[in-house]
């Protein structure tokens, strides 16, 4: 009996471990299922081991461009083995082209995806990849802390200086003519929509398009209709870490927290001040309180939901709306399974104080130990992959291949927000997008048109210690969302005192 029990224990342990390993293993092809719609998973067939590179890359000239450039570079954000096969094949093709054109350059794929918290120790320990992609909130901090390489000479040699937008020279420079990075693409905050839930709530117009909210008041009301009719959250709001503060600043701008009521300002004496208690800020925070305690439209896990989770909540139909930008459209769709024709991107709702939308973006920066030749090799790679504003037949082929890969993995193929001052490049990007478009552009036109017709004013992030500011605001939002009796003004006063003290210690000394 004892022996039997012992054997049973061993077998059960092995089975549990096997189940654990199986549960942690990646799905064979996550793009084939649509969990949000509750559809049955199609019968799984073993995927082919490899996939051919996009045929659009077939015409690229593989003659040697520079036999003397010698460097080994590690490239962050390389798609991992679990990425969609089309994306992997695309990057492998880029690597083959690099190998042919620059035989003495070795590309080392690195799966590092930037966050400040992980980059800093890697940079200090000398293990950061040569190329990484930070958000626009961080370049100035990284430059001031000597955690990135000066690549001015490589950028000049590449002829990119004249195509830099002035705002980006400021963002990626040290104010003394030195550059430490370059823009990848911009984003503008808007509202992601799950059309299925709008449909279930009867919020569809005669053309079959979702009746999306155009103002913050409408957002609350329509969210409430969705909540009451479908039982699902109207809005997912990530009030954890720094995400809540990040999105809240945009809401506050639309309540009028700009100009004389700006959230942060520098006075004539050069000192920085923060104003969390202005009437627009208080109104904006009251609005957050109302979303939770009056309209009750927020997803219940707000204070533990991070940015990645918001997209899966929207994509899997747990919430109908999410404040997010054009650069994140592949998350609810390709990553979380929402079909591209059930997804819409619309402008950030206006408020009583205006219609602003946060204009941020992602850049390319270089680890502090990157040499001039390594920077040059990386710029050649970025040119091949279509990230730099040059137009040749090869680059157009790369852009087309990129659009094909995007469509194959189930992400919407949409026009990018221009990051370079080169009209020919922008026009070519749009032409390629139109050619491979896989969406009904009526679901996106309002968003893109609002950026150019003046309906929405673009605004950069708050300038001083932005992440810290977001953290203080997120704490305040958490208090408002978790305590019905929390005093809004008192909460904002407390957050203001903390952040002003920080500014006084760090900046106003």
């Amino acid at each position: 009996m004892k022996k039997f029990m012992r054997t049973t224990s061993v077998i059960l342990t092995v089975v549990m471990l096997a189940m654990l390993v199986a549960a942690c293993a990646p799905a064979a092809d996550s793009g084939d299922t649509t969990p949000g719609n509750g559809a049955a998973a199609p019968e799984q067939t073993p995927p082919p081991e490899t996939v051919a590179p996009p045929e659009e890359l077939g015409d690229i000239d593989l003659a040697v461009v520079d036999p003397y450039l010698t460097a080994t570079v590690t490239l962050g954000n390389w798609p991992p083995d679990t990425a969609p096969r089309a994306e992997l094949a695309l990057f492998e093709a880029y690597r083959d082209i690099m190998a042919a054109q620059f035989p003495n350059v070795t590309l080392v794929p690195n799966f590092f995806s930037y966050t400040l918290g992980t980059y800093v120790p890697m940079a200090l320990g000398g293990t950061a990849p040569n190329l990484f992609q930070p958000h626009f909130t961080d370049p100035q901090l990284l430059i001031s802390q000597n955690l990135v390489a000066d690549v001015t000479s490589a950028i000049e040699e590449f002829g990119l200086m004249e195509m830099f937008m002035p705002a980006y020279v400021e963002l990626f420079g040290d104010g003394q003519g030195r550059l430490y990075g370059l823009p990848r693409d911009g984003y503008v905050l808007g509202l992601h929509i799950n059309i299925d839930l709008f449909e279930q709530a009867g919020l569809i117009d005669s053309d079959g398009l979702p009746m999306f909210p155009r103002t913050l008041q409408e957002l609350a009301e329509k969210g409430q209709i969705i909540r009451e009719t479908t039982g699902t959250a109207g809005l997912v709001f990530p009030a954890s870490s720094t995400f809540g503060g990040w999105l809240f600043t945009n809401i506050a701008w639309n309540f009028g927290a700009t100009g004389q009521h700006a959230i942060t300002r520098q006075d004539a004496d050069g000192r920085w001040y923060v104003d969390f208690t202005s009437p627009p800020m208080v109104e904006a925070m009251e609005f957050m309180r109302a979303l939770r305690w009056e309209y009750d439209i927020l997803h219940v896990d707000a204070t533990t939901t991070d940015w990645a989770r918001t997209h899966s909540i929207l994509g899997t139909g747990e919430a109908a709306m999410n404040f997010a930008a054009n650069d994140a459209v592949d998350n609810p769709t390709a990553v979380s399974g929402l079909a591209v024709d059930r997804f819409a991107l619309v402008p950030f709702p206006a408020g009583p104080g205006g219609a602003y939308a946060l204009n941020g973006g992602t850049g390319f920066m270089f680890s502090p130990d990157t040499t001039h030749d390594q920077a040059l090799a990386i710029l050649h790679f970025l040119r091949i992959a279509g990230f730099l504003p040059f137009i040749t037949d090869d680059i157009i082929a790369s852009m087309r291949a990129g659009a094909v890969a995007l469509a194959e993995r189930g992400a919407p193929v949409l026009p990018p927000i221009p990051a370079w001052d080169n009209q020919e490049f922008i026009a070519t990007q749009r032409q390629v997008v139109e050619e491979f478009s896989n969406v009904d552009m009526r679901l996106f036109n309002d968003f893109f048109d609002s950026l150019t017709d003046g309906r929405v004013m673009l605004r950069a992030e708050e300038p001083m210690h932005t992440q810290r500011l977001y953290r203080e605001l997120t704490n305040a939002i958490q208090r408002i969302l978790t305590r019905e009796d929390a005093d809004v003004l008192e909460t904002l006063e407390s957050a203001q005192a903390e952040f002003q003290a920080f500014l006084d210690e760090e900046v106003n000394r």
Partner: protein, 300 residues
Amino acid sequence: MEKIHLKIDKIKYQGVSWLIMLPGIVLFSFFVWWPLLQSVRMSLYRTVNIQLVEFIWFDNYLTIFRRTEFIQALFNTLSYTMWSILIGFLIPIFLALIIGETVKARGLVRTAAYVPNILPGLAAIILWTAVFSAGETGVLNILLSHLGFDRQSYLTEEHLVIPLIVSVATWRGAGATALIYMAGLAGINPQLYEAATIDGAGIWKRLRYVTIPGIFNLGSTLLILQIIAIFQIMFEPMLLTAGGPNNASMSLMLLMWQYAFGGGTMEFGRASAVAVIIALILLVFTALYSIVNKRKVDWE
């Protein structure tokens, strides 16, 4: 002459001892003591990333003591400790007693108790995130709805968040601790139980007069070690709540990480100051542990 020989022998003996210890001392110096001293040094400087820019005496300490988030993190950490003693100290003892008393399938129960310990930490936290989700897909809420109760919020409640995080930590670690207690229980002389039974002692009296005194010293040691471990709690609150809501689950270690890496401010000097304060508090606990341990050795 004999004295000289004795002295040479002593030097030889001590020399060999030092030689044996040398690799350990070198490794300890390099990996433990040197970083420790550097951390203390860094806490006295203004920093630009990890470079020391200006000696500012105790400014970093004064600054963090002025911040409400530090005071809150300090109290939270004490709260973690208190909850850990309430929840995490007794459960492994009960578990050990239950496993010890189990007649059938003891190996299976023992294995089941230990399995959470071999789960990767991240996987365990993801699992518990799903359990504690306040939505209708939260595992705990599904169970409650089957029992006819309303949906509840868990990690979004300020007063619940620390006990819940401690429960998760206990779930992970209790099995391993229970095994240590089981070893302790196995060391109790069975004749003591026999004698107690002959004297008419029931199960509670046997527990009170034989079992508890038998594992008392082990229990005090493990209690101190548990306090030291829970004082350094970081990744559970980091992954479950990111320190929220409203800093209600922010621990000192998590705050230290935020100052250095996660908060977007790279305050390495202040992070070091927090580290030194944690070390000083733990030093007190460690001294306590040494006293308890010495008493145990003397007793044995």
